[in-house]
């Protein structure tokens, strides 16, 4: 009889989960969910497995099961690190991503504070325009930007990307930070004003410390967006030593006679790792930045 106690662990969690029997929830929830997770994760599994396989093993499926590695090798990673400019692309990606993220956060903090807290004349309209700017896709801007970048003399340098990525990042970060700033009580700011603080002091000593979670959310999402950016990097960069990881992987690792799948997959895996690691530390911030940008 003691077994029946604790049979319904979900009952006191709220909701009506306890009304469902176990066989039913297995069929209705767990099997579909398992299929979803399998499909969503399989490409990563396959990418990782391939990057540790020898070339012979890649093409000899029949007979032995392809879903496992029998002779793991680090040859593909060695090839990537020592025979291509992959480390250089990693460094470029890191430099471009970090600089454009910091530039964007700085611009976005100032803009969001002005729109949300100073409430100057026309700030509502500017807020709406920033949201619209978020919706302008890079695919319709890359041609005119390519011409501008060329005329500015920064074509084929990392600066072309450091200066253009913020156009994607600032609208997003501003929109997100506006939501965070809105939730800080006005009274704090009024107290500081009475005590003689300037607006800049209020921003750095009161508003920013209170919106650290928002800053982290905006920062890591901006980091991800610029790490993943492709079309600008593909258009504005032509020499191999200035490329970012995605562009380098597509243009330099693919030789059109024989596909070096092991090397390519190793490149894809290593290029995804920084984002995956960052993600594993800040899952909650990712989710809040993604939903925050949509909800507000």
């Amino acid at each position: 009889m003691t077994e029946t106690v604790g049979k319904h662990p979900t009952a006191d969690e709220g909701g009506m989960g306890y009304l469902e029997t176990l066989p039913r929830s297995v069929v209705v929830i767990y099997i579909p969910l398992a299929i979803f997770i399998f499909v969503l994760l399989f490409p990563f599994y396959w990418m990782t497995i391939t990057s540790f396989k020898t070339n012979e093993e890649l093409h000899a499926y029949r007979g032995l099961s392809a879903l496992w590695i029998y002779e793991p090798t680090l040859e593909n990673i060695r090839f990537l690190l020592f025979e291509t400019e992959y480390p250089r692309w990693m460094w470029n990606s890191m430099f471009i991503t970090v600089s454009s993220t910091f530039l964007s956060i700085f611009c976005a903090v100032c803009a969001a504070y002005a729109i949300e807290r100073l409430r100057y004349k026309g700030s509502r309209t500017v807020g709406m325009l920033i949201f619209l700017a978020y919706l302008v896709p890079p695919s319709i801007l890359f041609i005119p930007l390519a011409i501008m970048v060329f005329q500015l003399g920064i074509f084929d340098t990392v600066w072309a990307l450091v200066l253009t990525y913020p156009t994607i990042l600032i609208p997003f970060c501003t929109w997100l930070l506006m939501g965070y700033f809105r939730s800080i009580p006005y009274e704090l700011e009024e107290c500081a004003l009475i005590d003689g603080a300037t607006r800049l002091q209020i921003l750095t000593k009161i508003v920013l410390p209170l919106s650290v979670p928002g800053l982290i959310s905006a920062g890591i999402f901006a980091f991800t967006l610029s790490w993943n950016e492709f079309i600008y990097a593909l258009t504005f960069i032509s020499s191999a030593e200035n490329k970012t990881v995605p562009v380098g992987a597509i243009t330099e690792l693919i030789t059109f006679d024989v596909y070096n799948w092991g090397g390519l997959m190793a490149g894809a895996m290593l290029g995804s790792l920084p984002i995956a690691i960052l993600y594993s530390f800040f899952v909650e911030h990712y989710v809040s930045s993604m939903t925050g940008a949509v909800k507000e």
Binding site: G15, M16, I29, L33, F36, I37, L40, P43, F44, W46, M47, Y61, A66, C110, A111, Y113, A114, I115, L118, Y120, K121, S123, I130, L132, A133, L135, V136, P137, S139, I140, L141, I143, P144, I147, M148, L163, T164, T167, P171, T198, R199, N228, F230, I231, V245, P246, A249, I250, W261, L264, M265, A268, S272, I275, A276, Y279, V283, V287, M290, K295
Partner: protein, 310 residues
């Protein structure tokens, strides 16, 4: 006490008290970047579409000639058709699967947080790199899907995923869905979590079944967020470039060319910047339609929450 007209008040103090001037000052960094690298190129792009500029040669104004040429260009119309097919099919399936996944994740279960975290991975990882993985999965000879199906005895020849027009279309759409479902699911999940469980309990007591609870509680309360999420999803699918460029470059025989890839092909690969800009400009009306849709979606949300319509 100093008053506003007191000549002893310094410039910095007056600045500190003038919200309009100070607001303008705070806007300067963002405004410079956005006006110079977003607003100006947007206008420049429209202008370029009216010229015949090529790489390495300044162009002259040729009016709407680019658009007349495009109007008679079969490849352009094929790319428009492909873009719509890609957007409509991928968005509908992404919405259906995303909503389903969101409803599944909304249940109480062991390792809830962990499962939600790994579900979002396809959205976080660089699209180009996961597209490379799909390219390998779709390989004409050594595709793992073909291998598994052959081992199971379903087919006896490898499938040429990216070699035939319709196969290639289905394959790139599948890859796009794979990447988009987590975004739709996780944002809808955030919407689902704001719905109070007491509503469902009350409905159950009133005798409502699962379908009617979904139809009359979940769906109406979720509509505003669905409108916004799907606008984003449609917008990013419509202007997609990365997946296609990595997997097919628009081939075979232009069957997967989207407007964005055709624009890149003509402008950067082919050197006809003016024509490419015209193709890119032709996307703007559709984007505007999507943005208007989003705007009304947002408004409705405020109204539903009892907020002001401002």
């Amino acid at each position: 006490m100093a008053t506003a007209n007191d000549p002893n008040i310094g410039f910095s103090e007056r600045l500190n008290n003038n919200r309009n001037l100070l607001g303008l000052l705070f806007m300067v960094p963002a405004a410079i970047v956005l006006l110079l690298f977003l607003t100006y190129p947007l206008g420049l792009g429209v202008w370029l579409g009216l010229t015949d500029v090529k790489i390495g040669r300044p162009g002259v104004f040729i009016g709407l000639d680019n658009y007349f040429w495009l109007f008679e260009d079969k490849v352009f119309w094929l790319s428009v058709f492909n873009t719509f097919l890609y957007t409509v099919v991928a968005s509908i399936i992404k919405f259906g699967l995303g909503l389903w996944l969101a409803l599944l994740l909304n249940r109480h279960m062991p390792f809830k947080a962990f499962i939600r975290a790994i579900v979002l991975l396809p959205f976080i990882v660089p699209t180009v790199l996961s597209a490379l993985a799909f390219w390998w999965i779709y390989d004409s000879q050594d595709s793992v899907i073909s291998w598994i199906l052959i081992e199971m005895g379903v087919i006896d020849q490898t499938i040429d995923f990216l070699g035939h027009p319709n196969n290639a279309r289905a394959s790139v759409i599948a890859a796009n869905i794979w990447r988009g479902v987590p975004f739709v699911a996780i944002t809808l999940l955030a919407g689902l979590q704001t719905i109070s469980p007491t509503l469902y309990e009350a409905a159950t007591i009133d005798g409502a079944g699962e379908w009617r609870r979904f139809r009359h509680i979940t769906f109406p309360l979720l509509t505003p967020i669905i409108a916004v999420v799907m606008t984003f999803s449609v917008l990013f699918t419509f202007t997609d470039f990365q997946l296609i460029w990595v997997m097919t470059r628009g081939g075979p025989i232009n069957a997967t060319h989207l407007m964005a890839t055709l624009s890149y092909q003509r402008a950067i690969v082919g050197g006809a910047l003016g024509e490419g800009a015209a193709i890119a400009t032709a996307m703007i009306p559709f984007l505007l339609a999507a943005i208007l849709f989003s705007y009304f979606g947002l408004q409705r949300r405020k109204w539903q929450q009892g907020g002001r319509d401002d």
